[in-house]
Amino acid sequence: MSNAKDVTDATFADEVLNSPDTIMVDFWAEWCGPCRAVSPILDQIAQENSDKIKIVKLNVDDNPQMAMKYQITSIPAMKVFRGGEVVKTVIGAKPKPALEADLAEFLA
């Protein structure tokens, strides 16, 4: 369904927190309609900005530790990480131009 790489509770530190790149984590679940709607848009943004930001997915059903740690109460929730820190949170499925505007500082 998506080209984005899956991260898990077990791989989160390696793949996200210790990564030298800017990484956006898409917190999602199978049963979340808006998550499915926004997924292809995130794929497009990742593809068009592959040199600036990486987008990975975390299934909140299978990975409750990270969902709890990052206080997820609403999905889709997209969190941008740099150097192990959350530097931006975007909540809810939005059209591509709105997401690009939210993420402008990372896509420039």
Binding site: A29, W31, C32, G33, A37, A67, I72, S74
Partner: protein, 321 residues
């Protein structure tokens, strides 16, 4: 140029598309980029759509409608309309990706958007405990205390659904009786996890990073109280989504698009409206579907009466200009 462009992908839009496509009008349907399928995509079991005696999941019902519309030749575009030019013989529909589509008729079926409480901190805490989608967010409130605001069918459905996760669900309603259907009411009344707070309005939402509580005021005696909870689900109705047609289509005082009698005809010839965007009263999947049928038949009738030369300008080719 098209014969017909349909804007909206709820029951009204898809049903209009099924009818228009079966009439060989090769409709183009603009489904939106992230809300395709409309409000039913956020519901669970639909028990009152005729033909499904065992009930059907909202998203599955919409997938079926989409498949049926496509089967007869509807072309679906997943983008958002950013501007409409409705006056004149040829209507122009501008999309977020820059494409402009032309058509002889437009069926406007954009539905409605969730109403907000309009109180301080609601927006700030939205997604941090304040939610408009129980099916999306209920999961995160396992063994928590939460509240649902509202007294209609959606509020009862959300409250009942949320008891799957939460230990305690308050229903805050500003009146002392519900608008919801009897079946929904009885289910909610029978649920031991649900407690009704009648005649109360939410005045405050508390919390720094996450919701920690709400302040409610009794509408009868003015008494105030605070409730500790971690989630607030807002289900106080919806407003017709008309921002695209302001200044073009006539609206009713309640904000719905004005149509002529029982038809779908708006004040602009060739522009038809259907579904929740014209309906302040019933707002059911099946009434919206019926309304979409009316719009497709009205559009067909309008096209049949156009001069041959005008009609000849519309081709079935998918021509973005």
């Amino acid at each position: 140029m098209r014969h017909v462009i349909i804007i909206g992908s709820g029951p009204a839009g898809y049903t209009a598309a099924i009818y228009a496509a079966r009439a060989s009008l090769k409709p183009l349907l603009i489904a939106s980029s992230v809300e395709a399928g409309g409000e039913l995509m956020k519901t669970t079991e639909v028990e009152n759509y005729p033909g499904f005696a065992e009930g059907i999941q909202g998203p599955e019902l919409m997938a079926q409608m989409l498949a049926q519309a496509e089967k007869f030749g509807t072309e679906v575009v997943y983008d958002d309309v950013v501007k409409l030019e409705l006056e004149g013989d040829v209507k122009r529909v501008h999309l977020g990706n820059g494409d402009v589509h032309e058509a002889l008729t437009v069926i406007f079926a954009t539905g409605s958007a969730y109403r907000k409480l309009g109180i301080e901190d609601e927006t700030r805490l939205s997604g941090h405990g304040v939610s408009w989608c129980a099916t999306c967010d209920g999961f995160f409130f396992r063994q928590k205390t939460i509240a649902v605001v509202g007294g209609g069918d959606s509020a009862m459905e959300e409250a009942t659904f949320l008891t799957k996760f939460a230990d305690k669900v308050y229903v805050v309603h500003r009146k002392d009786e519900l608008r919801a259907s009897k079946a929904m009411q009885e289910r909610a009344f029978a649920d031991p996890k649900i407690e009704f707070l009648w005649n109360n309005e939410v005045k405050h939402i508390y919390g720094d990073e996450l919701v920690t509580g709400i302040g409610i005021v009794n509408t009868v005696d003015g008494s105030e109280r605070t409730i500790d909870l971690s989630g607030l689900f807002v289900a106080i109705g919806a407003d017709p989504r008309t921002h695209l047609v302001h200044g073009q289509l006539e609206l009713n005082p309640d904000g719905t698009v004005k149509v002529d009698g029982r038809s779908s005809r708006t004040n602009i010839p060739g522009v038809f409206a259907a579904g929740d965007v014209i309906d302040p009263t019933y707002r059911q999947a099946v009434t919206a579907a019926g309304s979409g049928t009316v719009a497709a038949l009205d559009a067909e009738h309008y096209l049949a009466a156009l001069p041959k030369e005008t009609l000849a300008r519309a081709t079935a080719e998918p021509a973005a200009v």
